[in-house]
């Protein structure tokens, strides 16, 4: 097959040489990633009465586990606001912040994801 094309893009300058893939990876900390799941602990409608509307909305929405990103979308609030509301609710035990699937992605997790993709 003949190639009549020339790639006119200039060559990207100065590649940064990759280093060890796990270097710099830190264990999951208190940072609430957009993918982190939140769920309400023993939902009690009475508690909603004393809550500010946005706080109540998070408390009610998380009766089913939802991510930080889904809460932001569903409640039409910025991510930063959701993080504060969730942090406040978690501090008093009203919601639970699910652990990440792995602190550092490991073979078990990656193989599990691969199996899931195979089954799609």
């Amino acid at each position: 097959m003949t190639r009549t094309y020339a790639l006119h893009a200039p060559r990207r300058p100065s590649r940064v040489r990759p280093y060890g893939i796990t270097r710099g990876r830190t264990a999951a900390d208190r940072f609430l990633g957009v993918e982190r799941l939140i769920s309400t602990v023993e939902f009690d409608p009475q508690r909603v009465l004393g809550m500010l509307p946005e706080t109540a909305a998070v408390y009610e929405a998380c009766r089913y586990p939802r991510t930080i990103a889904e809460l932001a979308t569903g409640l039409a609030l910025p991510l930063g606001v959701i993080r504060v509301l969730v942090g406040d609710l978690a501090a008093v035990g009203r919601v639970r912040i699910h652990p990440p699937a792995a602190d550092i992605p490991d073979r078990h997790l990656l193989e599990r994801v691969l199996r899931g993709l195979d089954n799609l």
């Binding site: 990207r12 893939i21 270097r23 990876r25 957009v34 910025p78 991510l79």
Partner: protein, 192 residues
């Protein structure tokens, strides 16, 4: 009470980042495989301080919103995979940091019509060095107009970084790109 893997309170999540320049097909890619319509979250961004003569207290004057798209795939009963598209504007690097933190892996989408637009995204993941990534050429016209070797050379892509093609609209292509990404991440794990 017996808890099972499908107990909602035990649900786990993981994420993959889909990066690339504006218009490269990130949202299309995520939408092709997501089991929910692609949703958009907004983050409030501070913008340059209002001019001194601006007496308005409107919030819109000091902040702007940046959208990031996401979709979702159920991996199994207990694990959901989220795909996050980076915000179009490369200048919001701290949002990239937010998205990349804790990600399993990332795909940088490129368009051969404007390879230079992909440089910042590739450089970003190279510089981080902690997130396995692959580069995927989105086949806008359904065929590759350049040898992949030429594309690799123009991107100065390290030999260790997989470079493949996909049609971002095609679910099977997207699935294969994700499978290749996870296999790459597995290959990078230290052997024991």
């Amino acid at each position: 009470m017996a808890s099972t893997i499908s107990d909602a309170s035990l649900a786990l999540s993981a994420k993959i980042v889909i990066a690339g320049a504006f218009g490269v097909g990130k949202t299309t890619f995520v939408a092709a495989i997501s089991e929910i319509p692609v949703a958009s979250t907004e983050a409030l961004m501070p913008v340059a301080a209002a001019p001194a003569d601006d007496v308005s207290f409107a919030r819109g004057k000091t902040t702007t919103t940046v959208a990031m798209d996401f979709g979702r795939i159920a991996v199994d009963d207990g694990l959901t995979l989220y795909l996050f598209g980076t915000p179009g504007q490369d200048r919001f690097w701290f949002l990239w940091d937010d998205l990349a933190r804790g990600a399993l892996a990332a795909i940088v989408l490129v368009d051969t019509r404007n390879l230079a637009a992909s440089w910042p995204a590739i450089a970003y993941f190279e510089r981080r060095g902690d997130i396995p990534f692959t580069v995927v050429v989105n086949l806008f016209d359904g065929q590759l107009t350049h040898e992949l070797a030429e594309v690799r050379d123009a991107l100065d892509l390290s030999p260790g970084i997989p470079l493949t093609t996909a049609d971002a609209r095609d679910r099977r292509d997207v699935r294969e790109a994700l499978r290749a990404l996870i296999r790459h991440a597995l290959n990078l794990l230290p052997s024991h």
